[in-house]
């Protein structure tokens, strides 16, 4: 590893740490603008929660000190008790919800990458033919459609009109439609990305050389072209996971999936401030870390990129 690359990685890691720190700071101080403060809210809290919070954050102490205590808690994954769900710790709610969300999100991401790359490659190979045009029209439409619209239509079609799948996402069968709804946008995006990068790669000299040597067409595509065409897709993985995380907020609400997204949305309506803070910080850190990993991966994979 050369020093330039090491410098780049160091810079990115520092930026990520600053960002996470900033998110925590913004969350804490913005939430303190709420009447009554985040740890009490505008409504009365139960006696037990009140006592726990006072002991934990010293609510009578100055704001700076409370902030430091909160920061210390986060480092040890302690976000305090929930204001509205009696006797539950925020971190427990997050970890329970995240298991479901990660399952759906993970499957949706894998589905999006596999289908997107396949469709994009097909479109590039069959350039300007009917197949290509159909794929491009559909993927353009899906890229421009907000996720909650797609999810609503899926709910109407699959769960209300035809009732193929259950409308509630409590069961495994009920998770199929949410997964598809969640993966449609990233899939279409990857399709477009793969198509354009594939077209660029297919026009390059080394592909012509391979063809001239008499290499089989399938081998040219899979062995020579696809490898380089996938690099732009790699850069999209970070933003895609971020999109899936935020997209799960609405999709989980629409299909009543018991995941992190739904508990986050519920906490917003209930004004459960400690849960809102905890989930925001958790999701934001996750997104920052995912972006960091993809960025570094990207630089490692493609040696042509300069590190300026």
């Amino acid at each position: 590893m050369d020093s330039k690359l090491a410098y780049y990685i160091l810079k990115r890691v520092l930026l990520a740490i600053v960002t996470v720190f900033l998110v925590i700071t913004i969350t804490f101080f913005v939430m303190n603008a709420v009447p009554g403060g985040p740890f009490l809210g505008e409504k009365a809290v139960t006696e037990a929660v009140m006592k726990a919070l006072e002991a934990k954050y010293g609510l009578d102490k100055p704001l700076g000190e409370q902030y430091l205590t909160y920061l210390k808690g986060i480092i040890t994954f302690d976000f305090g008790p929930s204001l509205k769900l009696r006797g539950k710790e925020v971190i427990d709610i997050i970890s329970v919800g995240f298991k479901t969300s990660a399952k759906i999100g993970g499957i949706a991401a894998v589905l999006a990458v596999i289908l997107g790359v396949t469709l994009g490659s097909i479109a590039a190979i069959k350039r300007n033919k009917f197949t290509d045009k159909t794929i491009m029209v559909l993927s353009t439409a899906f890229v421009a459609t907000p996720s909650f619209i797609i999810a609503s239509f899926f709910l109407i079609i699959f769960c209300v009109n035809y009732q193929i799948f259950p409308a509630r996402g409590d069961t495994t069968a009920g998770l199929i439609v949410p997964i598809i709804a969640l993966s449609l946008y990233p899939m279409s995006y990857i399709t477009r990305l793969t198509r354009s990068s594939m077209l660029e790669v297919l026009g390059q000299d080394y592909i012509r050389t391979a063809r001239a040597k008499g290499v089989k067409s399938s081998k040219v595509i899979f062995k020579h072209a696809l490898k380089n065409a996938l690099i732009p897709v790699l850069t999209y993985i970070g933003p895609m996971l971020a999109y899936i995380l935020t997209g799960s907020l609405v999709v989980e609400r629409i299909f009543s999936v018991p995941g992190l997204g739904r508990s986050f949305v519920n906490s917003i309506t209930n004004r459960d401030y400690t849960l809102i803070m905890g989930t925001t910080i958790f999701l934001a850190s996750l997104i920052v870390i995912l972006n960091l990993v993809t960025d570094i991966l990207y630089k490692l994979v493609d040696p042509r990129i300069d590190f300026s």
């Binding site: 930026l15 603008a33 935020t246 609400r253 917003i268 934001a284």
Partner: protein, 356 residues
């Protein structure tokens, strides 16, 4: 005729052909005349834009939706917050609640039986007896307004920040761009949700004018002003930096062009297409953000409808009143899709780098 005038010439002689120096005939002069007006950059782009069928269809759709949103509420007999079953001094008439398309309430049916004309409820009414059509129209109005004003806000902040950073260069540029980097890596949707939660409660408790305007609208604008200008600023800075380094700017400088002329003639025309395109693409993203927030229940305060909140409210009655979800969803879809496609078409038409 011309051939006759030509003097015969040896094939390899260096003698000039005298025929080449004869006066031009009228016919030849006519050929040199400019028949067509010379096209400007703008005309050229517009021609390409209007040649794009999809773009034209989308422009027509957006125009129609905008006209409906502006003019229909002016003469429509019902108001978006008017509960038709509630008349002061009388008992609430529940027959107005949850009407289906083109159905009428009890008193309206009596009126019709007497031969009076009653304006139909095109999309029926909602569960509180409010005319659904006018609510959708109002929701569209709000969505479009948010899209437009948020984009203008983003444009102004981004343009100022980006161009200052690009012109100044050096240390100023470095510091300004580091700030942008940090803001850019913040997960925007989460910060928006957070700010909306807080602003909603804080502004409502303040009351008065701000609360009436709709705290959610204000928080959306604040959020756009704080976070969304970043990519615009980056784009404009990058564009100004790259144009500044081009040879034609150097050439202009070397023949003594003033800096105001360079800015007017070289920098701005080369940035304007990028600015127009990204502003156009900002509109659907703002509309999307607004409807997303409304859908999560951080929407405009209640009697005021928004497409997102209409769709969100319709979820609870999805089995019996599916169309109540379909109508706002299709409207958002049409608006966002059209604006996106117009933005893409603008890019194809006005971005010189993409021309083949």
């Amino acid at each position: 005729m011309q051939k006759d005038r030509r003097i015969k010439r040896k094939p390899f002689s260096f003698h000039l052909n005298t025929a080449d120096f004869l006066l031009a005939t009228e016919e030849e002069k006519a050929q040199q005349e400019i028949m067509r007006e010379s096209t400007s950059f703008f005309k050229d782009g517009m021609k390409r834009l209007l040649g794009n069928k999809i773009a034209v269809i989308c422009i027509v759709i957006v125009t129609i939706i905008t006209l409906i949103a502006i003019f229909v509420p002016m003469f429509y007999p019902y108001d978006y917050s008017e509960q038709l079953g509630v008349i002061p001094g009388k008992q609430v008439d529940p027959s107005y609640n949850n009407l289906r398309m083109f159905e009428y309430g009890k008193t309206e049916l009596e009126k019709k039986a007497n031969g009076e004309k009653v304006f139909p409820h095109i999309f029926g009414t909602d569960n509180m007896g409010r005319d659904y059509f006018i609510r959708v129209v109002y929701g569209t109005r709000i969505s479009l307004m948010v899209g437009l004003f948020a984009s203008i806000l983003v444009l102004i902040i981004g343009l100022l920040y980006g161009s200052i950073s690009g012109y100044a260069g050096g240390k100023v540029d470095l510091i300004m761009m580091r700030i942008v980097d940090v803001i850019y890596s913040l997960p925007d949707m989460l910060i928006i949700i957070l700010l909306s939660v807080v602003l909603n409660t804080t502004l409502t408790s303040l009351g008065g004018f701000l609360a009436r305007l709709g705290t959610n609208m204000i928080s959306i604008f604040i959020v756009f002003g704080l976070l969304y200008w970043v990519s615009m600023a980056r784009l404009i800075r990058g564009q100004i930096l790259s144009v500044k380094k081009q040879e034609f700017v150097l050439a202009a400088k070397s023949i003594g062009a003033s800096s105001s002329r360079i800015i007017k003639k070289h920098l701005l025309p080369n940035c304007i297409s990028v600015i127009i395109i990204s502003t156009a693409l900002q509109i659907p993203s703002a509309i999307f953000t607004e409807s997303f927030l409304s859908f999560l229940g951080l929407g405009v305060s209640d009697p005021m409808p928004s497409l997102g909140s209409l769709a969100s409210n319709a979820l609870s009655g999805i089995y019996s009143y599916t169309y109540r979800l379909v109508i706002p969803a299709v409207t958002i879809l049409l608006i966002v899709l059209s604006f996106n496609l117009i933005g893409d078409a603008l890019r194809d038409a006005f971005d010189p780098k993409l021309r083949n």
